[in-house]
Point group: C2
Chain length 548, copies 2
C-alpha cells in the first residue's frame, strides 16, 4: 500500500503527512490543488492565459516551420513512465504546439469556417471542463438537460416557427424531441438520414422494421430493389459517409445535375425520383443543400419540398452553413422552404460563432426521433427524461452552453448584424476581384463563400473572351494549386482551395478554385485587400520563375 492509500483511508492522518515530492502527494495535488497551495493552479492558469494572449495577438496565421520538421516533434510513441512536472509540460505545449498552431481567428485567415470568437467562449470552455456534466442522462446533467431542450427549441422556432402552444407542449416533454445536439454537422446529417431510413422502413404487419431486422430484410419486406438518397452534386462529403455507414452504399447516394449557379436542377430531381419509382428503388430522403460547402449556393428549397411531398419522401436540409441566414431580414428569403423540411442540419461552429464541437439535427415532428430510440437498464430507461435515449452519441459534454450563451449575449439582432456583415464583405471581395484582370470570379456569391482564381498573364485575353481550352485550364489549375500552397506556407494570409464544375468553358471539366469564407467580424476591407495583394505578389514571383 502506498502512502497515499494509507493516508486517504485513515481519517486521523492528513494529507499534510504525505511526504512532499512523493508520487502520491503529487497525484493528490493534481486533483486537490487547493489543499496545498493555490499558487500551483494560479501559476498554470496564468501561463495558459499568456499563451492565449500571445497566440491571439500574433499577426501571421502560421509559424514558418515546415510540416515535416513539425511532425518530428511528435515522433515518440511511448507514454512517459515517469510524469512530467506540470510546468515542464506547459513549456513543451507552448514551444512545440501552441506557437506552431494555426491561428484560425486571424483576420487574414479567410479560407475556412473559423473566425475570431466572442471572448466569453474561453471562460465558458473552462467552466465546462470544471463542471464536467454528461448530457446523456439527467443524473449527471440536472440543469443542463432542460437547458439543452430549451436551446434546441429556440432553433426549432427559428426554423419552423410553430405556435406557442406547440412549444408549451413539446419543449420540455420527455416524449418529444425537437432536435438532437451532435459533435458536428456530419453526425447531424447522419442523424437526419437515420431517422428517415428508420421511419420510412418502419415496423408494419409483423415486420419489426429496419431498426430491428436490418436493411436487407426491410427492403425485401417492402419489395424494394435497393434504397437511395438523392441530392445535388453540391452535397457535403458527409453524405457519402452517411450513405456508407447506414448500409445504403455510396453509389446509391444519387447526385443529380446542378444548374450553372450550382443549385440543384429540380427537373432532374423529379426525373430521377420517377426513375427510382419505376426501378422500385426506395427513396429514403431527398436532400436540399442550404449553403454548399464549396460555393455557398443554396438549392431551390420550396421546389424540392414540393417534389419530396409529392413523392411522399423525407426532406432533409443541410443548412450547416446557411442556417443562420434566418436571423437576417435582408437574406432570410433565400431559405424559404426550409420550414417544410423534416430534418435540418445546422452547425454551431460555423456562423453561430461557437468553438468546434457542436452540430444540431433539428426535427420538425417531435415524434420522429422515436424511430431511433434505444434503452438501457442503468440509464435511458423507457420512462426517463434522459436525452441519451434518442441520439447517435452516448456520454457527451455540455457544449450546448456555448450556443445558449451566444443566443442570449449576441441575440437575434446581433446575429443579424454579423450575418449581413459577412455577406457585405464578401461582396466587397467579389467587386475587388471583378475589378482586376489578374483574377476571375468563378461564381457570383450567394452568401459569404466565394470562389475565384488567378489568371497568369498570357491567359487573361482568352479568359475574357471565354476561349480557354482544356489544356489552358489545366495549366491555370496547376498554377492556382501552387499559388494556394505557396500562400499557405508563407503564413501571412490564407484562402482554401477546391475544384468546382464550371459551365463557362466548353469542356465543363472541373476548375481549381481559390475559396474564401468571410465570417470573421474582425476582418476588415484592408485585410481583404492584403490577402489579394499577397496573392498578386506570390503569383508574380511564380510567373517570373516558370514557363507560365
Amino acid at each position: 500500500m502506498t502512502t497515499l492509500q494509507t493516508t486517504l483511508m485513515t481519517p486521523e492522518i492528513t494529507v499534510a503527512d504525505i511526504p512532499d515530492g512523493s508520487a502520491d502527494k503529487r497525484l493528490w495535488q493534481l486533483f486537490n490543488p487547493s489543499t496545498t497551495t493555490s499558487s500551483t493552479e494560479m501559476l498554470v492558469e496564468s501561463r495558459i492565459s499568456e499563451m492565449i494572449h500571445d497566440f491571439l495577438s500574433t499577426a501571421d496565421f502560421s509559424s514558418s516551420i515546415e510540416f515535416k520538421s513539425l511532425v518530428r516533434k511528435f515522433s515518440d510513441s511511448r507514454i512517459p513512465a515517469e510524469p512530467y512536472e506540470v510546468t515542464k509540460y506547459l513549456d513543451r505545449l507552448s514551444d512545440d504546439v501552441v506557437i506552431h498552431s494555426t491561428r484560425t481567428s486571424s483576420p487574414r485567415f479567410i479560407g475556412h469556417m473559423t473566425s475570431a470568437l466572442p471572448y466569453f467562449m474561453r471562460s465558458l470552455g473552462k467552466l465546462m471542463a470544471a463542471m464536467n456534466q454528461n448530457l446523456v442522462k439527467i443524473e449527471t446533467s440536472k440543469a443542463f438537460s432542460p437547458l439543452e431542450r430549451q436551446t434546441l427549441g429556440m432553433i426549432h422556432r427559428l426554423i419552423f416557427n410553430q405556435a406557442d402552444e406547440f412549444y408549451d407542449r413539446h419543449l420540455q416533454n420527455r416524449e418529444s424531441t425537437l432536435g438532437i445536439i451532435t459533435s458536428g454537422g456530419t453526425l447531424a446529417n447522419i442523424t437526419g438520414l437515420w431517422c428517415a431510413r428508420n421511419r420510412t422502413l418502419g415496423p408494419q404487419d409483423g415486420f419489426g422494421g429496419v431498426e430491428s431486422e436490418g436493411l436487407a430484410a426491410a427492403l425485401e419486406f417492402y419489395g424494394y430493389h435497393g434504397a437511395v438518397i438523392i441530392g445535388s452534386n453540391s452535397m457535403h462529403y458527409s453524405f457519402e459517409k452517411a450513405a456508407d455507414v447506414l448500409g445504403i452504399g455510396r453509389q446509391n447516394l444519387i447526385k443529380v445535375r446542378s444548374d450553372r449557379h450550382n443549385r440543384l436542377d429540380v427537373a432532374a430531381l423529379r426525373k430521377k425520383i420517377e426513375e427510382c419509382r419505376l426501378q422500385k428503388r426506395h427513396v429514403i430522403a431527398v436532400v436540399g443543400v442550404a449553403g454548399a460547402t464549396e460555393t455557398g449556393a443554396i438549392d431551390p428549397l420550396p421546389e424540392i419540398a414540393e417534389v419530396a411531398r409529392e413523392a411522399g419522401t423525407h426532406f432533409h436540409v443541410d443548412a450547416a452553413w446557411a442556417g443562420p441566414l434566418l436571423f437576417s431580414r435582408r437574406y432570410k428569403h433565400q431559405l424559404t422552404g426550409i420550414e417544410q423540411a423534416d430534418t435540418v442540419t445546422i452547425d454551431g461552429h460555423k456562423q453561430f460563432y461557437l468553438p468546434m464541437g457542436l452540430g444540431m439535427c433539428i426535427i420538425r415532428n417531435p415524434q420522429l426521433a422515436k424511430s431511433i430510440e434505444k434503452q438501457a437498464r442503468y440509464i435511458v430507461r423507457p420512462t426517463s427524461a434522459d436525452l441519451g435515449k434518442r441520439a447517435l452519441e452516448g456520454s457527451r459534454p455540455s457544449t450546448v452552453l456555448f450556443l445558449h450563451a451566444a443566443l442570449h449575449i449576441i441575440g437575434h439582432s446581433g446575429y443579424e448584424i454579423l450575418l449581413d456583415e459577412g455577406i457585405r464583405k464578401t461582396r466587397y471581395l467579389a467587386d475587388s476581384i471583378l475589378s482586376r484582370l489578374e483574377f476571375e470570379l468563378l461564381q457570383e456569391p450567394t452568401m459569404n463563400i466565394l470562389v475565384y482564381r488567378y489568371l497568369p498573364e498570357r491567359y487573361r485575353q482568352l479568359a475574357a473572351s471565354g476561349e480557354l481550352s482544356d489544356s489552358d485550364n489545366q495549366i491555370i489549375n496547376e498554377f492556382n494549386v501552387r499559388l494556394q500552397k505557396s500562400q499557405r506556407e508563407a503564413g501571412f494570409s490564407f484562402v482554401s482551395r477546391t475544384m468546382i464544375n464550371s459551365t463557362r468553358y466548353r469542356t465543363g471539366k472541373p476548375l481549381v478554385a481559390l475559396r474564401t469564407v468571410i465570417a470573421n467580424p474582425i476582418t476588415t476591407e484592408s485585410d481583404i485587400d492584403e490577402v489579394l495583394l499577397d496573392q498578386l505578389e506570390i503569383a508574380s514571383r511564380l510567373e517570373s520563375k516558370s514557363e507560365f
Copy 2:
C-alpha cells in the same frame, strides 16, 4: 449600412469613433475585448472562476430543487431579440444553471463514471476554446494533427506493444491509421464495427464492396442470409445503436449467455458461430466486453480471440471501462488477449480522468481504416495528411489535448496508482457490504464497479439461506428503486441503479441493483462509509413508513 460597417471598412476611422453603447460597438467588443478595456474580459473570467470555485467546493452533489421546478426555468423557446449584457447572462447562468447542476466530482457521487479531474484540465478547456483548432484537416490544426497521431500511437503501444520499427513506420505516416479519436465510446464502437463490416464485405471480382453498393447488395454478392454481430448480454447499449445504424438490425446483435460472473460463455459463443455458419449468416464481428458497464465484468478475451481467429472474423474489444487497467502491474493480466483484438474502444472520460467528449477506436492493423476512407475536393484530398479522411466525424475539436497532457503529467506510474486505488477502495466497499446484514453483495467486483442491494429486515433470513421467491425479489426490487431515488433526491450522496441477471435465486429474473463506480481520487473510506450510512438511514425511514 451600420456604423460598424462604415467604421471597419474605413481604415481612417477607428473603433473609438463608434458611439459607445451602440449594437455595433457592443458586438465589436465581444470579439475584441482588448480594444476597449481589458476589464470586461477580466470581469467575466473572475465571475466564472468564482462560480467554478463555489461549485467545486459545495458539499452536496445536488441542490434540493425538484426537477419539475427546475424545468420551468427553461420554458421560453424564443431567442432573445435584444441581447443580454454579459453580466446579466452570468447572473442567470449562476442562479439557474450552475447551482442546480450535478456536482459530478463530489467524493460521495459514486454512481457514475465521473470523478474529480486534474485541475489543469480547466485551463486546457479554456486554451482549446481560444485556439479553436479543427482536427479534420491540417490547414486548421497544423500542430494538433501530428500531436493527435502521436497520442493515438501511445495508446496503440499500450495495447498492442508493437516493435519500435512499427511505430517509426506508421505513427506519422499519412497512409496509416493507428486509431481514430471520437466524441465518445459509442462512436468508437460504431467505428470499429463499421471498419469490420466494410472490410469483411469489401470489394472483390467486380463487386464494389458494401461501402459502395450497400449492405443488401453485399449480402447477396457474398451469398449470405443476413449479417450479425455477436457478444454477450453485457454489451453496452451502444452496440444496439451500432447494429441499427450500420443496417444490420438490432435483432441481429446476438447476445450469447454469460456465466454467473457475467462473463461471456465461450462454448455458447462457439455454438452460435457454428449455427450462423450453417444458416449462412455473416458474422461481421465478435465482441469482447472488457469492463461491463453494469458490473465491471471482463470477458475471457484470449478464448474469444481464439474463436474469432478460427472463424476468420473481426474481433472488437469494448474496453471503454477497463482499458486503463493496462497501466497496472497488478491488474493488467485481466486484459490478456486484448492485444489480439482488431479494434479496441477506450474512453478518455472514464478512467483516463479527462473531461467529457473523448473516445478512441484503436486499430491494430494500420491499413484497416482505409475501408471507411472518404474524400472531398476542398479538404481530405486523396494524398493529404488530413485526419478527417478516415473518421465518422468531420470537423471536430482538439480534445486530444486533454489526453496528451494527462499522459505526460499523470504518466504511466500515476495512472497505475489511480487504477489500483479505485480497485482497492471498491474492495473496501465490498467488504463493508459483506459485513452488514442490511446489504447483499450481488457480484464479487472485478474492477471498480460494484453491484449490491439493500434487504428490508424481513427478507434477510431468507436471503441468507438463498430462499427468496420471485415475489420476494419483486418487493425488494421496488424497495431498492425507491431507496435509490430518495437518496438521489436528498442530494447528499449518490449511487446509480441498474438491473442485473442473478443466478443465485432459482428464477433467474433480473434483480434491481445499486451500482457504484469508485474512480474518484478524492473519495475516501469515510466517504464510502457515509454513502452506506446515508442509505441505511433512508432505508429505515422507508421501512417504517410502509408495509415492507
